[in-house]
Amino acid sequence: MELLPTIWFIAIAVLWTGYLFLEGFDLGVGMLMKLFARDNTERRVLLNTVGPVWDGNEVWLLTAAGATFAAFPLWYASLFSALYLPLLVVLVALIFRAVAFEYRGKVDTDQWRTRWDWAIALGSFFAAFGVGAALALTTTGLPLNANGDREGGPLAWFSGYAVLGGLAVVGFSLVHALAFLALKTDGDVRHRARKWFVRLLPALLLPIAGWALSIQFLEGKPWTWALVLLAVAAAAAAWTMGRKGAEGKAFIALGAFLALGTASIFGAVFPVVLPSTLNEAFDLTVSNASSSDYTLGLMSVVAAFGLPLVIAYQAWTYWVFRRRVSAAHIPEAHSFLPAIAARAFTTKG
């Protein structure tokens, strides 16, 4: 087994784990804007728990995709072109979500806010679902020909695994967001989030467990089965901690669940990065899809410095904004228009 491609396979798994861990809760918070928050103040509480960090979280996605391009160009090319329409949905969802975060508070009318709330909630849902579907399909396979191109038209990628993977990331994001809100807010939101967390955790983690288990039945190795068992234990721990009100521990245990679950899935499919459902000979693997050792070596050196640095300053950001947010902290919507623009408009002419 070649060393550098294997290292980069692990690195990409780590980047996806980082993405799902971090953006997981802000995608979930986005969906909870419509499912959980009861009024505008609560929605703003939710929004401001992720306000300073969601954009930094999203860069994990760009880095995961960019690293896949650089380290496994054939994997990147085949996966992204085969999943053309679902990734278009992800892009549209991410565009609306990003713009909505920034623009929602910029006009003080209910109609404006409601529209952007939907953009955040639906954008978060479709982004989570689409990313989940894409990740599931890269583990279960796509109808690729010898050149790595999709056969069978625009919807040939569709399978039950796409739905399972989509639900897996949506479900995980929701439960992760509830844990995050319990940790990051105060007052009524905090208590409700904790209650929802305990009540919904088993159901919401079911699809991701289903995905991990089906991969194990298809490709599992003893050590990846062991990881699944550990992941289940971590989920149980998260649930217990949540019941006890140990919010920080619950959040960390859930993170451990994610890391173990992702490792069990990526570990099981290794060394295949994207199987072909048409012919096993067309499978993309860490050896036949990777860049040269020179490129991988260069990237390894940079990542060895760069990634710890990213983790350090992002951790610092979370520390800076560590305080809990509650309804009492939300300032009034700031409407400057009556003050100055009224005059600007009336004196026109």
Binding site: D55, G105, A303, Y313, T317, H329
Partner: protein, 537 residues
Amino acid sequence: MDALDALEIARWQFGITTVYHFMMVPLTIGLGLVVAVIQTVWHRTGKPEYLRMTKFWGKLFLINFIMGVATGIVQEFQFGMAWSEYSRFVGDVFGAPLALEALLAFFVESTFLGLWIFGWKQLKPGIHLACLWIAVIGSVFSAYFIIVANSWMQHPVGVEMIDGRPVMTDAWAVFTNNTALVAVPHTLFGALAVAGGFLLGIAWYHLWRRRRDGVDTVGVDGKVIPGDAADIPGRDRDDHKVWIRSLRIGAVVAMISFAGTALTGDLQGKLMFEQQPMKMAAAEAACHDGTGFSVLSIGNLGSQNCDDIVALIEVPGILSYLAKGDFTTEVQGVNSLLPQYKEAYGTHLPDNPIYGERAGQEIDYLPVMEVTYWGFRMMIGFGGIAALAALVALWLTRNGTVPESRWLMRLAVFGILAPFGANAAGWIFTEMGRQPFVVAPNPDPNGIDQVFMFTAAAVSPGVTAGELLASLVTLASIYGVLLVVEVKLLVKYIRGGVVSAMPELVHAPIDENEDATPGPGGPGGGKPADDVLAFAY
């Protein structure tokens, strides 16, 4: 050719999404640098007008920034989605700068900008300012990495062909590609030009409005007498300083950046004459070898038959200067270059399935001359107009305010668009001028042989024209709607003036010794974490 041609749709999509993305990005980079400098001045001097400038321009910066972020993700994804053959061919060398951009630049940019937006009270003033600088430097690095990637498409270096694919053998060569080293400053000056025009136009509007409303008057000596509008928060004498300083900063930045784009553009042109001679011949719409630069050519540029084109006004020697730095060297025209290209890279596309129905077709080495000829001239023209306008603006505002003329104000506001136009024209020129190649060959005899790719081979073979059309229509309509939303929001905040970015001014005492504005030691100076939310969405 089918009615629906996947390659053509994919090219339109890449062009539209990239030009759009590059409307937001230069403003982000340029305005980010300007705001960082202004906040630094505030940090040093504590003068309230600089805080107001930081807040106001910072607010507009953020409204625009997010659009650059949102549309940037599309850029990274569409190489794989629509151009999978391209991605497979270049991945070993092209993927690295993209991955490094995300890892080393974009993480920095988005994380530290989040700290800056929300950290006004949580961070000490010096650290808060440093966060902005770090984010801005991140955006500059981001530009560097992207241009390294693009420059490799213009001028491939640092690779060897192994099994039909370029494999990176010299990262130093890739990351110090001379094409990139001149394109980076050229692009950064282009970004600053956008910021300069933006400041100038908007500040002009506010100064004009203060005069129109009678807040500012002009004394007998012609000099401005700044006033206070007691009934409107924020429209005091400091407000006048905000706008006149912004206007002057904008004008100076616009002029410096035009000089910068001209100097770097000249270097870039000289490289381009060596590296992509056909692009420059097409920029000139020149059939025959010569020394003259065409100011106006007539004839049917669209016919792609260069003997139809007559240079109506031509300045002898200038073309030689652009290419070689003297006034006499003959520069090769299209007619001399075509046979050379055919000999080096073939007359017909190979009979290979990756060319789809284009396999075996004759290759047209001449870029679309209407686009290259006018793109080149619009780039220079819009840039020059903006710089000239900035000079005139400095003269007209020498007495501390703007003339009363509504038309001049409209012109200044409209002029904001000129540097945007110059940027778009320049990129359209250089990308269209590279055709029919997506990776242009490197003609240096000591360089690498046969590392090039025709655009016709680059598109995703498995993706249908219908999918591409669906995404083109979807993205173009969403981008259209979001452009309207962004511009409306910008207009709203611009009209609102400083108070739109500083609600605290509404409650501030409005008198000469206004002191509600905290000095640099002020924001959170005492108890940093007192307010959980210094800023709230």
